[in-house]
């Protein structure tokens, strides 16, 4: 078998098997190097896979050589490819440029475990994105969740521990709900393979258990995706996790859960289950709107910038869900493009936060007041990423916002509501991003040392890489938009 055919497996196996090796490595430097190498390799593989998908259509890989539905198969279509790009890219950038920030407050004796856990998160998320088997999703969801608990608990503040515990409880409940749902579906169809489920679920005479299963799966994944009002674990987890971890997870982890949600809803349920399509629109759309409003509102008054950005993430998840809840080509395109662009913007913002945190003690607004002069590069990138989050034209954020509004315009009266909400929250975004930028540039510093203290070079470099990516994909949005459109077409092709 040629290497190209093995790529899907390698995508997951490389980080998955580097992790135990990293456990054995002593010394932070070595383990960091190994972890970075693995995730860079994963990123390269992801790029290769994406190009293959774009040219040759979806890939399929039979684990252990057993055909579906008897064995587990990997199914990588445009959507999965996009997810793989996000996950591996986020990991590669944050690891490569984040060494200084990570070493800041973690004793060297444990770092190798930390990096191993990091790789496991990476492998878990990639595995979820790649697999075509409902139970396998559960396994990899647990892999990534457990490992990310470790990463978050590594935060220096003691509140990281309680935040992690809350996350652990809610995450496990979510996973178990998902497990119940899968169990019910399996009970009625006798298969675990997505594609196979789709075929067999149609013949199920009584759809009650299926409907309940849909409910459980949706709720479970909503917990993992921090959909309002199940988001309560997210703000603390993001706030007290190590900054690099926040950058990594905020860029991709919740989106992967949404990805599974989309997959299950469109591939398995909506095609066969009239009631479910309605359930999706009726329950998720309002939640999405509420999430957008509440997230933005809280972000406007929050004083700790990490928590501020975390709440803005809650709002952004609302956007993604809103686009999906239109269940239209435009809507799904917008939703997928949002995943990509939000990952870029939020990733850059949290990287900037990490960069600032390498020089400034606190992360409240009054702590970072007036550091624009001390860390010009970091702050410029921060402003740029902020513009992208707000959706200033010329940045990636604008593209997705445009697509979302455009999709909303097709929706008639509900669309109008959606537009009003989105516009309101964009204004809110202007406000809360501006609070940061203005504070950074025009705020009066607490202590009057205006010595030039730029963050470590690799960090700034990575930060600018992502920030410029925001601009690039704002002016040449071909890649994400093409992927998004293909993905939307795939998903919709499963509707009746």
């Amino acid at each position: 078998m040629s290497l190209a055919q093995q790529l899907p497996a390698l995508q997951i196996v490389v980080p998955l098997l580097t992790a135990p090796l990293v456990v054995l490595l002593r010394g932070p430097g070595l383990s960091w190097a190994a972890a970075s190498a693995a995730s860079v390799m994963a990123f390269v593989i992801a790029i290769a896979i994406t190009s293959m998908v774009l040219t040759g259509g979806a890939l399929s890989y039979e684990m252990g050589g057993w055909p579906a539905p008897f064995g587990i198969t990997l199914e990588i279509d445009a959507l999965s490819a996009l997810m793989l790009l996000l996950v591996t890219g986020a990991s590669a950038v944050t690891l490569l440029c984040g060494r200084a920030s990570l070493a800041q407050n973690m004793d060297a004796g444990r770092q190798h475990l930390f990096f191993a856990a990091w790789l496991i998160v990476l492998a878990g998320l990639a595995g979820i994105a790649a697999t075509g088997d409902a139970f396998n999703v559960f396994v990899f969801m647990e892999i990534s969740s457990l490992a990310s608990y470790v990463l978050i608990a590594a935060g220096s503040d003691r509140r990281a521990l309680t935040a992690t515990f809350k996350y652990l409880i809610m995450g496990t409940i979510g996973a178990t709900f998902y497990l119940i749902g899968v169990g019910l579906v399996y009970m009625m169809t006798g298969t675990l393979n997505f594609a196979d489920m789709e075929l067999r679920i149609a013949d199920v005479t009584d759809q009650r258990p299926i409907l309940v299963a849909a409910g459980f799966i949706t709720v479970g994944l909503a917990l993992k995706a921090a959909v309002f009002p199940l988001h309560i674990w997210l703000p603390n987890a993001y706030t007290y996790a190590p900054h690099m971890v926040t950058a990594f997870l905020a860029a991709c982890s919740t989106k992967v859960a949404i990805y599974v949600l989309l997959r299950f809803d469109f591939l398995v349920f909506q095609g066969n289950l009239e009631a479910h399509a309605i359930q999706f629109a009726i329950f998720l759309a309002p939640l999405a709107l509420l999430g957008i409003l509440v997230g933005s509102a809280v972000a406007m008054v929050e004083a700790n910038i990490k928590r501020l950005l975390a709440f803005s993430s809650v709002a952004q998840i609302g956007y993604i869900l809103l686009g999906a809840s239109f269940a239209s080509a435009a809507g799904l395109t917008a939703s997928v493009a949002l995943m990509f662009n939000h990952a870029l913007a939020k990733g850059a913002l949290f990287l900037a936060v990490a960069a600032i945190a390498t020089r400034i003690a606190g992360l409240r607004l009054d702590d970072i007041a007036g550091i624009g002069r001390r860390m010009p590069w970091t702050c410029a990138a921060l402003a740029l990423a902020g513009a992208s989050l707000v959706g200033i034209p010329g940045t990636a954020g604008f593209v997705s916002k445009w697509l979302l509004l455009q999709a909303a315009f097709e929706q008639g009266t509900f669309g109008i509501v959606a537009i009003v909400v989105v516009v309101m929250s964009s204004l809110a975004a202007v406000v809360y991003i501006w609070r940061i930028v203005e504070c950074v540039y025009f705020g009066t510093p607490k202590n009057e040392d205006t010595t030039f203290a730029e963050a470590p070079l690799p960090l700034v470099a990575g930060l600018w890489l992502v920030a410029l990516a925001n601009v690039y994909f704002g002016l040449v949005p071909a890649l994400p938009v093409t992927l998004a459109e293909t993905a939307a077409a795939d998903l919709l092709s499963h509707l009746p």
Binding site: G71, A117, V212
Partner: protein, 327 residues
Amino acid sequence: MTVVFGLFLLTLLVITAIAIVREENLFTSVMLTGIFSLLMASNFFILDAADVALTEAAIGAGISTVLLLGALALTPRNERKYRGGRWMALVVVTLTTLVVVYATFEKPRLGDPEAPVHQHVAPWYLEKTPELIDIPNVVTAVLGSYRAYDTLGEVIVVLTAGIGVLFLLGLPGAVGDRKPEDLATGRTYLSHHLVPQVVGQLLIPFILLFALYVQFHGEYGPGGGFQAGAIFAAAIILYALIEGEREALNVISPRTLMWMMSGGALLYGGVGIVTMLMGGNFLEYGVLTSNPIVGQQMGIILIELGVGITVAGVLLAIYHAFAARGR
């Protein structure tokens, strides 16, 4: 007859569960959890799930109880009394339950051979296994070959738990700044309990033997890496209880534990890599030898070994992490 017995056990399960939740002395709760797991195990057994029963008994009743006790030794024994006001919770919970019951009315009756579960994939496993893999225990076949990828993931989950606990609590001699020498030497809990020590030393060899039996007999009867690993760990933990952490850590050094944790997973993954190099898919054991059936059996034995090693290593490491944290 079995049905009635089943009803009896299930009812006991419910009662135990309620007791666990209501009891305010956590120590008692933990003990009850052990009982709960045993009941669950026997329940699984009457439902013809021998492997699951064995696992639940070894892991649920055995290891997790030990871990809970280990944690309890470091935290308060009693749950704080507190006033009520949990209507919200009650409502949510009741709603969930009602939804489940609502769904269950349509479910196939217990043991209905016509249920779709028994139609599609399962029969294929039962038919093809003899000719494709040719080992009696179909569960092992599915676990080790058809869904080996899941099992690999499972091993990684265990490994992650190990990594996490060691990261949070440290392991004298491997993670953190403490060395085994810092630990209190000599007999610990049972210093003045002669009888248990004698009996324990008498039993440990048998337990290890049994672990190996479960490990390598997994293809033919119930058992396999997970159960074996758990039992093996149990034996060492017993030794630690009798002789103390320090001695136990001298028997299997912390570094060895780390090697076991990773080594098992690496062995498992290595098999997959080898199959890839030999031109097959990941974990496609058939290519290992000229005869695919032999190859399959070989692969399964190897990966089960990997599973066993990792599970044993991780469970031991976790136990030591908890036990050493105290003193």
